[in-house]
């Protein structure tokens, strides 16, 4: 039930007075709408979200994703 890949925010939608309630997200051309009710922080267009069963559960920026990749690269270089 989990989607492992973060999806990019293309458009923010709806407004309940405290901010957008949904977002259009994209991953490799596949687009869908997700709810933002329970996401840890409201994302901006161009940010990424981890989606589970129709809800964004975690928002990350491109920089967060790159930091995580460079951490892996560091672990690869470091040796045991």
């Amino acid at each position: 039930m989990c989607l492992a890949i973060p999806m990019e925010i293309v458009e923010l939608k709806g407004d309940d007075g405290s901010g957008p309630t949904a977002a259009l997200v994209d991953s490799g051309g596949i687009r869908r709408e997700v709810r933002l009710d329970i996401v840890d922080r409201l994302p901006n267009v161009g940010d990424y979200v981890i989606v589970h069963a129709g809800f964004a559960i975690h928002a990350l920026t491109r920089a967060d994703a790159e930091a995580s990749l460079s951490l892996l690269r560091r672990m690869a270089r470091q040796g045991a």
Binding site: M1, C2, A4, I5, P6, R35, D37, I38, V39, D40, R41, Y48, I50, H52, A53, G54, F55, I57, H58, L60, R62, D64, A65, E66, A67, S68, L69, L71, L72, R73, M75, A76, R77, Q78, G79, A80
Partner: protein, 361 residues
């Protein structure tokens, strides 16, 4: 952005892992999505021989108690009810029949991707049927269901209910780990359950069971990185919580999502397939939301039921046995003719072995 096509990265991480696998080590992947990712990526055949991976209790459909499955099927056969369910539940065999069979006999069973889709069905429905959403899932799924119920209450949707069969991961780990302690060297902790509850939630597990706990992502490089941290801890005799999936998991978790959970649900004892009742490992609707409980609205009870004869799903969920130990595996039990939920669910251990076993050693 993705590490998945960076083969050089995977190779160097594997070399480092090899250097740390100084003795036989057994790690349990707690989460069903990890089980599938490990098989799909062929990781089992890439990692050093010293490292063995066992699957744990993290497939929500698999851990659903047989009595709960029977109750779902019973409700689907009631008149005036529409079932909305995640697809994986439809073919799970009950004591007699399945939701799929009930549907073939006329029951109204709709597959949804999200609890919000179930609420949409309730909003659009004009024939007065009661929508019953079969609420299975762990901490990743629960906040979204809570948000759906809050929305149903706000919009006064009277024909929407859920059948709560939700499960909490940390109490289940505490229930099964005593049986494992001597054989296990660490836990590959769930990625997205941990997004919600936070890495810090495993601190008691690491401390009380003396087990290294490392939160892992789902790409091959991310999973190998988690194994490196686990092997290093095991080698040095440490038992700490480490987070190898920082892009999705923080130490404290998603407080907004947890607030939704706390507002709508409170802990209750729950029965797990193969494990039995575990204190405070499930959730029930709080008093202010009781009208959304299908059990109350329909007067249905979950009755104890026996698991399919000969099926080892119970032991597989606990990580004590593997599908190859089951005489039915690949013979009488296949994804087309499943005997237990572990062969039905896309996250089930038997289904993963069946589909991807070529790379299995």
């Amino acid at each position: 952005m993705s590490a998945s096509f960076d083969t050089g990265l995977v190779d160097s991480l594997l070399v480092n892992l090899k250097g740390l696998a100084v003795r036989p080590m057994r790690f349990m992947e707690v989460c069903g999505t990890h089980t599938v990712s490990i098989f799909r990526s062929g990781l089992r055949s890439l990692i050093p021989e010293e490292i063995k991976l066992v699957s744990g209790p993290g497939c929500p459909v698999c851990v659903t108690d047989q009595g709960e499955i029977d109750a779902f099927i019973k409700v689907s056969r009631m008149s005036g009810v529409t079932i909305a369910t995640f697809g994986d539940l439809v073919r799970v065999p009950g004591t007699s029949g399945s939701l799929a069979e009930a549907r073939a006999e006329g029951a109204d069973v709709k597959v949804v991707y999200s609890s919000m889709d179930a609420l949409d069905i309730a909003i659009r429905q004009d024939d007065n049927k009661l929508i019953v959403f079969l609420a299975v899932g762990f901490e990743t799924t629960i906040p979204g269901i809570a948000a759906t119920i809050k929305e149903a209450k706000r919009a006064s949707i009277g024909n929407f209910t859920i059948f709560p069969a939700l499960k909490l991961m940390p109490p289940a780990l505490c229930a099964i780990l005593p049986g494992h302690k001597p054989y296990l060297d660490g836990l590959i902790c769930p990625g997205h359950v941990s997004s919600i509850i936070g890495a810090g939630a495993y601190r008691p597990t690491a401390r009380d069971f003396g087990l290294p706990c490392v939160i892992a992502g789902f790409e091959p490089a991310e999973m190998i990185a988690a194994l490196i941290l686990l092997a290093r801890q095991a080698g040095e005799g440490r038992a700490e919580v480490e987070n190898a999936y920082p892009k999705a998991v923080s130490w404290d978790g998603n407080s907004r999502a947890m607030r939704f959970m706390d507002e709508v649900f409170e802990p209750s004892d729950a029965r797990w397939r193969g494990i039995g009742s575990i204190k405070d490992s499930g959730l029930t609707l709080k008093a202010g939301y009781g009208e959304f409980d299908a059990r109350v609205r329909l007067g249905v009870e979950v009755k104890p039921a026996t698991e399919p004869d000969g099926c080892l799903c119970g032991d597989i969920i606990k990580g004590m046995r593997s599908p190859q130990d089951c005489p039915f595996f690949r013979t009488r039990c296949t994804p087309v003719t499943p005997i237990g939920p572990c062969m039905v669910s896309s996250e089930g251990t038997c289904a993963a072995h069946y589909r991807y076993e070529k790379g299995f050693r």
